[in-house]
């Protein structure tokens, strides 16, 4: 459908540009604010970049914000560990679960599948109290396992891998059997490489999901050395009567956006492939 109507072209472009500005302006303001000193921000804030850029970022990364007790560097590392832990854990567990459900016949197979499927409808927030109790009893509060393990099961990923495995022809499995390989070989030599693009696509989605976890880390971390960046930013804002360090907060916010953006940029090609193409 190709239409040549100038006003339509104009209208569509106007809407797109408006939408883009809506998204970009807050980020731009954040960036500009992170390059000014606190005085400049609170007194006479201009929309042009300031001169304090390097100082603000160095201070955030190495000294850290007042009253939080951890540097932004530490918090970024914590966020990274948590995000990667959740992502890799989710992918690993759901690959295995999907493999079991699709390729092995065991009693109550469909029951377990539906059980997993039903948990799709339970977001973290719903089960947060029991999960907290379990984590506390296991004594994994204030630890990396505590940040990662409770978020590691993924019905969505299991379901996606199940759907993908079901499109893999049975003959491939049989060909491996005839070639002399067992289930482990079939999984690692055939299924895993064939799922490569789906794994890449899931990696991007899950990494961003993990990086943006907020409620759970907030609940279980009291020790500053396990703070993730998102909690850190929240803490920086909790200054009560005092003056928030806006220049540091803005710098941290910009820093918090960088890893997900990098992941998307570097994995864009695989991501698109994984969402659109199946290798068969």
């Amino acid at each position: 459908m190709v239409e040549h109507r100038p006003w339509l072209t104009f209208l569509t472009h106007a809407i797109l540009i408006f939408g883009m500005l809506l998204l970009v302006i807050p980020i731009y303001v954040t960036f500009v604010a992170s390059s000014h000193s606190l005085d400049e921000i609170t007194a006479h804030f201009s929309l042009l970049p300031g001169t304090q850029l390097v100082e603000n970022y160095t201070s955030a990364l190495s000294v850290g914000p007042r009253d939080v007790g951890a540097t932004v560097g530490t918090m970024m590392l914590n966020s990274l560990i948590m995000a990667l832990g959740i992502t890799l854990g989710k992918i690993f567990i759901s690959l295995l679960a999907a493999y079991a459900i699709v390729y092995f016949k065991f009693r109550f197979r469909m029951f377990f599948f539906w059980l997993i499927f039903i948990t799709l409808m339970l977001p973290v927030e719903v089960r947060i109290l029991p999960t907290y109790k379990v984590a506390a009893d296991l004594k994994i509060l204030d630890s990396y396992p505590g940040l990662i393990l409770p978020l590691i099961a993924s019905a969505t990923a299991t379901f996606l891998f199940r759907q993908f495995f079901m499109t893999v022809p049975d003959e491939l499995c049989e060909a491996v059997k005839i070639d002399g390989g067992g289930p482990i070989r079939f999984f690692f030599d055939i299924l895993l490489p064939m799922s490569r693009t789906s794994i890449a696509a899931l990696f991007v989605i899950l990494f961003i999901y993990g990086w943006n976890q907020y409620l759970w880390p907030l609940l279980i971390t009291t020790d500053e050395s396990y703070y993730t960046l998102l909690i850190g930013i929240k803490r920086m804002l909790d200054v009560g009567e005092g003056q928030a360090e806006w220049q540091i907060i803005m710098a941290s916010t910009i820093l918090a956006m960088i890893p997900p953006i990098l992941i998307v940029i570097f994995m864009q090609k695989q991501f698109v492939k994984g969402m659109t193409e199946t290798e068969k």
């Binding site: 003959e171 491939l172 049989e174 060909a175 070639d179 064939m194 290798e279």
Partner: protein
């Protein structure tokens, strides 16, 4: 290389029995074709030999050892699947090498075997390609290559040519036969294409609904079909079947009150007075003289194929449809009457109820 023996093999899926007791001894180096219509259990039988399906009852033995409980890998068989089942993410080389790699063969030996097989199959130039970058025929060769490099005891083929176009099918058919003759590996080949079965097999098993209707050489099956099903299934166009009654002395059959055929030799002495089915292949009619011909066919339709002519018509009062095939070209007019003879040796007789073949006395 190995001999294979099926001893009264049954297969049941849930409550439905799909293979009802098949026995067959396959010699070392023999090429056996399993032929039958869709759904008759060919693939199931093959997969039981491969070890991909369990055997409900009976024994499958390879080289005298019962292998019922062995995994496919331990049976030392190789299989070409209908859709080839190539590993999509591996190059052709790796596809062919995979089975050897699992068996922990030295790298140099793997390379030698893969390259040898590639040369035989003329796919050397594709070794670095992925299956997706190959045509159907090339993929088919790779699937064969994957089997050849293993040097297995038995080759199993499940309709390997059914995804190819007609011309390629003929070419690959010849190549498979040539290859099997060079390698002399016992082969079991499933197809529903009777031409493949006739041309490829040393012997064939014609399957009918889970039973082995006949096991024999292609010529055997063509010349002396064991049941009415086999007779109708083998041969194209299909055999004509006419109901007939044997005369009291067994020396004649009456097709209708107005048509009688005299049998040569001893006739059918044990079946005097019985109703039977008479079969005649379209190619076995010969044109005769109006005065003394056995049959007079009212012609309905003619197809000239160049090499031969197909004529369709009907016989007698009850208008039994009959097809005949005459060598070379004939320009018959519609609605003429053809006068036909049938050499007595080319008549087949079957029991009306059981469909079993009835032999004429010599």
């Amino acid at each position: 290389m190995a001999d294979v023996s099926l001893d009264n093999v049954f297969k049941t899926f849930g409550k439905t029995e799909v293979i009802h007791g098949i026995s067959c001894d396959i010699q070392d180096g023999e090429f056996i074709v399993i032929l039958g219509p869709s759904g008759c259990g060919k693939s199931t039988l093959l997969r039981m030999i491969a070890g991909l399906e369990t055997i409900t009852k009976g024994d499958v033995s390879i080289d005298g050892t019962v292998v019922n409980r062995l995994e496919p890998a331990d049976r030392d068989v190789a299989m070409v699947f209908q859709n080839y089942a190539l590993y999509p993410h591996m190059t052709v080389f790796k596809n062919m090498a995979y089975g050897l790699k699992i068996r922990k063969m030295p790298k140099a030996e793997i390379k030698r075997r893969v390259e040898d097989a590639a040369r035989i199959l003329e796919i050397t130039e594709f070794l670095d390609r992925k299956p997706k970058q190959l045509s159907g025929g090339q993929r088919q060769r790779v699937a064969m290559g994957r089997c050849i490099v293993r040097e297995p005891k038995i080759f199993l083929f499940d309709e390997p040519l059914s995804n190819l176009d007609a011309k390629l099918r003929v070419q690959m058919r010849l190549e498979i036969r040539k290859l099997q003759e060079t390698l002399k590996i016992t082969s079991i080949y499933v197809t529903h294409d009777q031409v493949e079965a006739m041309t490829l097999g040393d012997r064939m098993i014609v399957m009918d609904n889970g039973y082995a209707a006949q096991i024999g050489t292609p010529l055997d099956v063509y010349e002396r079909p064991a049941t009415r099903f086999v007779a109708g299934f083998i041969g194209s166009p299909a055999m004509n079947f006419l109901t007939a009654v044997v005369s009291a002395d067994g020396r004649q059959v009456h097709l209708h009150r107005d048509i009688s055929l005299t049998l040569q030799n001893g006739g059918l002495p044990g079946h005097g007075g019985q109703k039977i089915i008479m079969g005649v292949r379209p190619e076995h009619f010969v044109l005769g003289q109006a005065a003394d011909a056995m049959l007079h066919l009212d012609l309905d339709h003619v197809e000239i194929l160049g090499s031969d002519t197909l004529a369709y018509g009907h016989l007698g009062q009850d208008k039994t449809q009959v097809t005949l095939r005459l060598p070379s070209v004939y320009h018959f007019k519609k609605n003429t009457v053809l006068h036909l003879d049938i050499p007595s040796k080319n008549l087949h007789f079957f029991n009306t109820d059981t469909g079993q073949r009835i032999e004429m006395q010599a």
